[in-house]
């Protein structure tokens, strides 16, 4: 009994002590003050030096919180118990959030630096007139391959090249229904926004034939595994590919010419935001060419900021793999919001495909 009581007291003292330390830390970092800006972003998707710079300029304390998937972010914002001032969802999710009335319209007068954004990336289907969102980064879906691991005779240019029987057990795929069904659709020269069941089933059946070549269907671990030479080929996003290529020189990236996906991560202001003024300030801050350039060089994804491109290392900017010419960009498709039912159908087919691999 005595030991129990002693333990209880020790634990409670410990908890109080921890609370105190935590409070002190929060105060010293300014997290508990009212002059804060809360950013809800993907993990490590913003150069921390820029946050420091923003803090210095405005005197605002920035709280940086992270999510790992668009869906997880949606759940938190939908639920209403949160108050993020800035979020950075992908385009299809922005469309959904607009439909569900979760976003605040932006005041373009407060965003003078908006003029630097490439007009090609403005006014797109998911947010006409950029009423709710401002482009942050963009990228494509393509093939990363390791020239040292693969046979010299193997050509990787088109999506169809993945079906080469010589590539047995050599391919990593991203664990995402639309990307995987998408490249199969592209290889059949269909739109990756199709809702035609016959085309989708054909794409799924074609994927089934790819089974012997697939080593694993995985998530972010792919970066680590490709860098470690675990497989010769990976189908993934361009930004991830860029990161892998920094760490492993044998890797290269191709964007198949028959078409692929172009995606956007845009900055938005959720309805539940507390500091709308600061949120605009922050968006404009990130639109400033020098900041956009610095961020792009840190992250590795492609920046939509034209003036920033002029400030960046020409080697990066002229790399057609990540900044493809207009002719290629024209063939890239943005994901449209296909509605819950069609998306569920995509996911069902993807699940069936995964089950098929057994």
């Amino acid at each position: 009994m005595k030991a129990l009581f002693q333990t209880l007291v020790v634990v409670l003292i410990l908890v109080v002590g921890l609370f105190f330390v935590n409070h002190r830390l929060n105060v010293s970092e300014g997290f508990s003050g009212s002059d804060t800006l809360t950013i809800y972003n993907w993990g490590d998707y913003l150069d921390p030096d820029l946050l420091a710079k923003f803090k210095e300029e405005t005197g605002l304390t920035v709280v940086y919180e992270t999510f790992d998937s668009n869906e997880a972010m949606l759940v938190k914002i939908e639920q209403g118990g949160t108050n993020y001032d800035i979020a950075v969802p992908s385009e299809y999710m922005i469309n959904k959030m607009i439909e569900e009335d979760l976003l605040l319209p932006l005041d373009h007068n407060k965003l003078p630096n908006l003029k630097h954004i490439d007009p090609r990336f403005m006014d797109l289907v998911f947010d006409p007139g950029n009423q709710y969102s401002i482009p942050y980064f963009w990228g494509t879906v393509g093939i990363v391959y390791n020239s040292e691991l693969l046979d010299e005779n193997i050509v990787l240019e088109h999506w169809d090249d993945l079906w080469n029987p010589k590539l047995e057990n050599e391919i990593f795929l991203v664990d995402s229904a639309r990307e995987v069904l998408g490249f199969s659709l592209n290889s059949l020269h269909h739109s990756l926004n199709t809702t035609d069941k016959e085309k989708l089933i054909a794409a799924k059946e074609k994927l089934d034939l790819l089974t012997p070549n697939i080593k694993a269907i995985i998530g972010d671990e792919m970066k680590l595994l490709m860098v470690n030479n675990e497989a010769g080929i990976g189908v993934t996003w361009s930004g991830d590919a860029a990161e892998m290529m920094w760490d492993n020189e044998a890797l290269d990236y191709v964007l198949p010419p028959e078409g692929s996906n172009i995606f956007f991560d845009n900055m938005v202001i959720p309805k539940t935001a507390k500091n709308v003024e600061a949120a605009h300030q922050f968006i404009d801050f990130m639109l400033r060419p020098e900041n956009a350039a610095q961020n792009a060089e840190y992250i590795g994804y492609s920046t939509p900021n034209l003036s920033a491109l002029e400030l960046m290392d020409p080697e990066i900017v002229n790399d057609e793999r990540f900044y493809p010419p207009d002719a290629v960009v024209e063939r890239l498709e943005v994901y449209e919001n296909l509605g819950k039912r069609n998306l569920a159908y995509y996911n069902e087919l993807f699940l069936e495909f995964k089950m098929h691999r057994k």
Binding site: L25, W42, V63, K76, Q79, G80, G81, T82
Partner: protein, 266 residues
Amino acid sequence: MRKLGLLSKAYLVIVFFILYAPIFYLIYYSFNSGGNMSGFESFTLDYYRDLTENTRLIIIVINTLIIALLSAVISTILGVFGALAIVEVKRNRMKSTLLALNNVLIVSPDVIIGASFLILFTIVGIQLGFTSVLLSHVAFCIPIVVIMVLPKLQEMSPSLVDAARDLGATKRDVLMKVIIPYISPGIFAGFFMALTYSLDDFAVTFFVTGNGFSTLAVEIYSMARMGISLEINALTTIIFIITVIVVLAVYIFTRDKRKKGGTVRS
């Protein structure tokens, strides 16, 4: 008779080796200047230094500890109540119903628990953050405590209670002086397991957290997209060393008590 054969010793050594292998792997790379967990370049303490400057991460670690300790204490108290209540119930049907309900949360997939708690908190209107995380952790720790305490209560012979009664002990006395001391090993085990489950949990917290409140597991998960920094390895090393020290200290402390305390425990 107490001596173990060579084969048995080897077996235990292998089991422990495998259990700790991934942890030592993480610790090893926390000193890697290469920046990732493949190919050791050279020895560095940079990540430990970075760690001390990373206030945000320190706050998250403290949050995690507060949640674990508080939820373990609260769930231990409630769990002991629960175990006493289950023993109290006479009807067998009722008893097994209670037990079955008790075990639902232990065996449910974390995703379901997380999602249903999220719906629940939304309906009730509890803000996501410290409170919702604490409530959830308490909720899924209670059944574990019950499971750990119940066997001790059941093995306790009723004659012990009767004897105490006959000697004129009040209900309160019986509880505090006979029952609780008898089941206290179970209570400690329950507390320990509750801590384990709370520290280990990622999925439930992931669903019910929000607004500037994060625990270590959730933070690590959201770091995965950009690759986990070796600062986390450094942190793991520190946590690991502290835990080993705490476990040793607790063991020595309770063992001394046991010696002095005499013969109460079996």
